[in-house]
């Protein structure tokens, strides 16, 4: 802590922090800024933050502060004003912000900015939450010496891609958008063009503004120069009611705020007008991906199911809830076997009630499956998951971030953003994957392994650590066997340096995905990652541990409540007599789910008609995340609450209510009346969730740096977090006494010959919810497969050809892309891009036949 003086008052503040942030947070002194943003490096371009600056005079020998006659410290002022945003605090720093000189400087800057800023406020989307508007009201001169007629007239409607529009007149050239894309998102897509008065923002990528974080630039824009196509002229900011919510797509649990308003077009109901980030420094800071921002349209899509359906004479027809319930209850009572597959968007409450229902009608934990069923290892997470209180903001030098079998930007963009920011602060990144991904650009160690040999790669790391005697076995249980097994492992030399870096690091975080890994292999992969962490002692301490890159928003919650991917695999193999599929579409996505047709009676809760509802006997309309309350558990095991935002569509119900009512009819248990009551029951029954009562989850704290809030200097009112920052549950490694299991894992590769089809995850896919956001349709690529040049040549295929790939009885028609980054012998096939189901686990391709020639235009 250091002492600084602001307007003559001393404050104790943390050393090395930025003066603007500190003054705002500790002294409640808002130094106005335009170009500065707390999340980005300062540039000092706009000069709005000019303050008088000086240093306290100290006695040279003793170092004590010299005092003047009044007893306040003597300060040596600099002759001219300085920019506060480029100043980090040091002991004895003094500033004055309330003198005439400072006031005049601020007035002049605002006046100057307004010389070429149009008077658009009445129609500007930012009007009402605009930093320029606010600062003009507070620091503006009121009158101008310039002529209004001399204002610049520039293009008003410049599309930067189909998502973001630029208004050249409004831009004040602060470069926040350019700096965000460049520095934080790592996408070199925006740039300044020309100079002086002609300076303008242009996009330099093809397709334009090709970034997965483009929407964030509209939030940080201090004027209305950047607006989203989604919200353009949608509503005035003061008319919007902000409802705290959680991202329904990714495992990061990004905090969002749903801006809702009545809307005449949709029949006078309350609808979501836009999605804004909500500040949570533990989770997503103030960023969200474009998928989260623009993917909300499914909540009020015209195709939403509005009534229950049941099968009569082989077609689904509308029915009433009473009849549907009766049918379900009759079937469940007499069922010989019951199973359930829970989708990625089900809240903890839904999962709990579904579990209770399945157990009540004779099912076991073995009949509770998750969807997508690609990842395993819940037990490993319980031991060595990332420790409670970890925060990427505090990671930097001394931290090693390891990415295993994952394309993090596509699978969990917020984690990617934060891991990259940590890397920019000095963290080392190690990437292990079968192909290069975007993170490889920032990685110190880019380690390629053969697809299917991810476990072997980690074993190599472990072997290097043990052979190099870098390990600490004091907490490891079963180390002897591991050591014995490791003797057989041939440690690959390429991994030596990375192993050393991991062993020598202060903190290690491992992201473990499942690219190119089968479900059985994944359990071993997670254990292998755990072995590395345990043997190097990187468990149980903050900023250490394992983060599984789960495929769904609440996969962690499902695993906590007893659901497993192994159970899903079993259910797909041998469908039970009565199957409940809640909020997912296995039949339409995965070729392995074709078997589900053999279940006698299928109950589906869904928001839309899918291939899975097509095989259902009863379809129940479920509510989207925006219509109800609930909780999601993020991949960092943070349980977070979301609140009801929009009006209920049709007769839909939340899943927990549906399952609770069915169970009530079967075993006469009391049906819970609210999601909070279900959570109260979970807190009593599940040990890890004992602190997860709704009251605890709604707790908020003051966050540093202070963005948003009441003064809106950083744009947008939605940054303010009023809904709760969530609660993490601790892993067993945090108990220093606990012994941790290290288990030898086999690194046997599959022996099958042929081209290996590796399913990969894309952020923008045709999943049943995301595809309803038509605004994103241009960003979703067509169904395609990536071939290596060697394989393409061998098969006489060229870029753009349509091929039919045959896989275990199923066949897929896709366009091919010849991609040098793909290793020979591998085809990467993004999941969920076509209407046909595709593979979810890597498998060997059968025959590949060309069905159509590439159009000449696509060849180059």
């Amino acid at each position: 802590m250091v002492t600084i003086y602001i307007d003559g008052v001393g404050y104790e503040v943390p050393a090395g922090t930025n003066l603007v942030d500190v003054a705002k947070f500790y002294a409640d002194n808002d130094i106005p800024v335009f170009c500065y943003h707390p999340k980005m490096a300062p540039v000092g371009m706009c000069r709005m933050c000019l303050v008088e600056m000086g240093s306290v005079e100290k006695d040279k020998e003793s170092g004590t502060v010299l005092l003047d006659e009044q007893g306040s410290p003597k300060i040596r002022w600099m002759p001219k004003m300085q920019t506060a945003c480029t100043q980090t605090v040091y002991d004895g720093l003094a500033i004055r912000t309330n003198t005439q000189q400072v006031t005049e400087a601020r007035e002049d800057i605002v006046e100057f900015l307004l010389t070429s800023h149009p008077l658009d406020c009445p129609i500007c989307d930012k009007g009402g939450e605009c930093p320029l508007q606010n600062l003009t009201m507070r620091h503006g001169p009121g009158v101008s010496v310039f002529y209004f007629e001399d204002k610049m007239h520039l293009a008003k409607h410049v599309p930067l891609g189909e998502l973001i529009y630029l208004d050249r007149e409004r831009c004040i050239q602060c470069a926040r958008c350019i700096r965000f894309s460049d520095e934080l998102a790592g996408d070199d897509v925006l740039a300044f063009h020309e100079r002086g008065r002609a300076l303008q923002i242009v996009t330099v990528s093809d397709p334009p503004f090709d970034s997965k974080f483009s929407g964030n630039t509209t939030d940080i824009c201090p004027v209305g120069a950047l607006t989203t196509a989604d919200f353009r002229f949608g509503a005035r900011p003061w008319e919007l009611k902000e409802v705290p919510s959680i991202d329904p797509y990714g495992p990061e649990g990004a905090n969002i705020s749903l801006s809702t308003r009545l809307d005449r077009d949709s029949g006078g109901g309350i609808i979501i007008k836009r999605v804004m980030p909500r500040q949570n420094e533990h989770v997503n800071e103030i960023w969200i991906s474009d998928k989260t921002r623009f993917g909300h349209h499914h909540t009020r899509h015209i195709d939403r199911l509005v009534t229950p359906l049941h099968r009569e004479k082989n077609t689904l027809i509308e029915t009433t809830w009473d009849k549907a319930f009766k049918q379900i209850i009759d079937k469940l009572k007499g069922a010989t076997s019951v199973g359930a597959i829970a989708g990625p968007g089900l809240s903890n409450e839904d999962l709990w009630e579904l579990r209770q229902l399945v157990l009540a009608v004779g099912g076991s934990e073995k009949s509770l499956g998750i969807w997508p069923a690609t990842m395993s290892g819940g037990e490993v997470v319980k031991q060595v998951g990332i420790a409670k209180g970890s925060n990427f903001n505090t990671m930097g030098k001394g931290t090693v971030i390891v990415l295993v079998a994952t394309d993090l930007e596509e699978e969990a963009p917020i984690w990617w953003l934060r891991a990259k920011a940590a890397r920019d602060r000095g963290a080392t990144v190690v990437v292990l994957n079968g192909r290069p991904t975007k993170m490889d650009r920032y990685a110190k160690f880019s380690l390629r392994h053969e697809y299917g040999d991810a476990v072997g790669a980690i074993n190599s790391l472990t072997a290097h650590i043990v052979n190099g005697n870098h390990h600490k076995a004091d907490r490891a249980e079963g180390f002897a066997e591991l050591q014995k097994a490791l003797k057989k492992v041939k440690a690959d030399d390429r991994y030596a340096a990375a192993a050393e870096a991991i062993a020598g690091a202060d903190n290690v975080v491992v992201f473990c995905g499942a690219e190119g890994v089968t479900l059985a292999q994944h359990a071993e992969l997670m254990q292998a990652c755990a072995n590395v962490l345990i043997l190097t002692g990187h468990v149980g301490r903050t900023n250490n541990g394992l983060i599984p890159v789960w495929p769904g928003a609440n996969t962690q919650g499902a695993i906590d409540l007893g659901y497993t991917a192994e159970a899903t695999a079993e259910l797909l193999q041998n469908p039970p007599a009565v199957l409940i599929v809640a909020g997912c579409n296995p039949v339409g996505e995965d070729i392995a789910a074709a078997n589900l047709r053999n279940a006698d009676f299928v109950i589906v809760t869904s928001q839309f008609d899918t291939a899975t509802t097509a095989i259902a006997d009863v379809v129940l309309p479920q509510q989207s995340f925006a219509e109800r309350e609930g909780t999601f558990t993020s991949g960092e095991r943070r349980v977070q609450r979301f609140y009801a935002a929009q009006g209920v569509i049709g007769e839909s119900f939340p899943d927990w209510k549906i399952f609770a009512q069915v169970r009530h009819a079967i075993d006469k248990s009391t049906a819970k009346v609210s999601a909070g009551a279900v959570m109260a029951e979970i807190t009593k029954s599940v040990a890890a969730y004992s602190a997860m009562g709704y009251k605890n989850l709604a707790q908020v704290e003051r966050q540093f740096p202070d963005v948003g809030g009441t003064d809106q200097y950083y744009g947008g009112t939605a940054y303010q977090n009023t809904g709760g920052i969530g609660v993490q549950w601790p892993v067993s490694a945090e108990n220093a006494e606990a012994k941790l299991n290290v288990v030898p894992v086999s690194s046997e590769k599959s022996k099958a010959k042929g081209l290996l089809v590796v399913p990969t995850t894309l952020l923008y896919d045709r999943g049943m919810l995301f595809v309803r956001s038509e605004i994103m349709s241009l960003r979703i690529p067509p169904a395609h497969a990536n071939f290596s040049p060697a394989d393409a040549q061998k098969l006489k295929l060229q870029d753009g050809d349509m091929v039919e790939i045959n896989l275990e009885g199923a066949s897929l028609t896709v366009q091919i892309i010849v991609n040098e980054t793909i290793p020979a012998g591998v085809i990467t096939l993004p999941k969920c891009l076509s209407d046909q189901p595709g593979p979810f686990a890597p498998m060997v391709a059968g025959s590949i036949e060309k069905v159509a020639q590439a159009l000449a235009a696509t060849g180059d």
Binding site: P118, L119, I123, C124, H153, F233, A235, R236, R264
Partner: protein, 164 residues
């Protein structure tokens, strides 16, 4: 004598001109600045003055105004600016005829006129939509939407005089 005095007063008033306004047969003209039912104005060419900024709704102390905006295109242009009011509704039973909307309007699109005959037998009838509020197209003008040449209107809001 008292009786005669009293009758004199009566007779005097009988002979005087009648004070009563014979409403509804005779309508007394209201003052020039009287604030009655609103009207949405048009330019001479028939384009709407309203730009859908919803500042009237923000200024309204009774929450009587509802505006939903949309973007003009050159093929379908309602107002000279970028934005126009897709939905514009005023609930006459909520409105207190204070005229704040008039003050707030940046384009002088909304004006409180002299019409005051506003009684309803159903509350729903009191919601006046854009069609009911907007002035008829002036002679020589054309009803909206207009189809215009690209870039003939490129100002976000119609040019105004310098703020004074």
């Amino acid at each position: 004598m008292g009786l005669i005095n009293g009758l004199m007063t009566t007779i005097k008033h009988v002979l005087q001109e009648k004070a009563t306004f014979q409403y509804p047969e005779v309508e007394r003209p209201v003052r020039e600045r009287y604030k009655g039912r609103h009207a949405l104005k048009r330019y001479d060419n028939g384009m709407e003055k309203c730009i859908g900024c919803a500042l009237c709704a923000a200024a309204c102390p009774a929450d009587a105004i509802w505006v939903e905006a949309a973007e003009n295109t050159d093929d379908e242009r309602y107002s000279p600016g970028e934005r126009y009011a897709k939905t514009y509704e005023i609930n006459m039973l909520r409105c207190i005829f204070c005229g704040y909307c008039e003050d707030a309007c940046p384009t002088e699109a909304i004006v409180l006129e002299h019409e005051y005959k506003l009684s309803f037998t159903d509350r729903r009838d009191s919601i006046y939509t854009k069609d009911m509020l907007i002035d008829p197209v002036p002679p020589g003008g054309q009803d909206t939407p207009h189809q215009v040449e690209p870039h003939s209107y490129d100002r976000p809001i119609p040019d105004m005089e310098n703020p004074k």
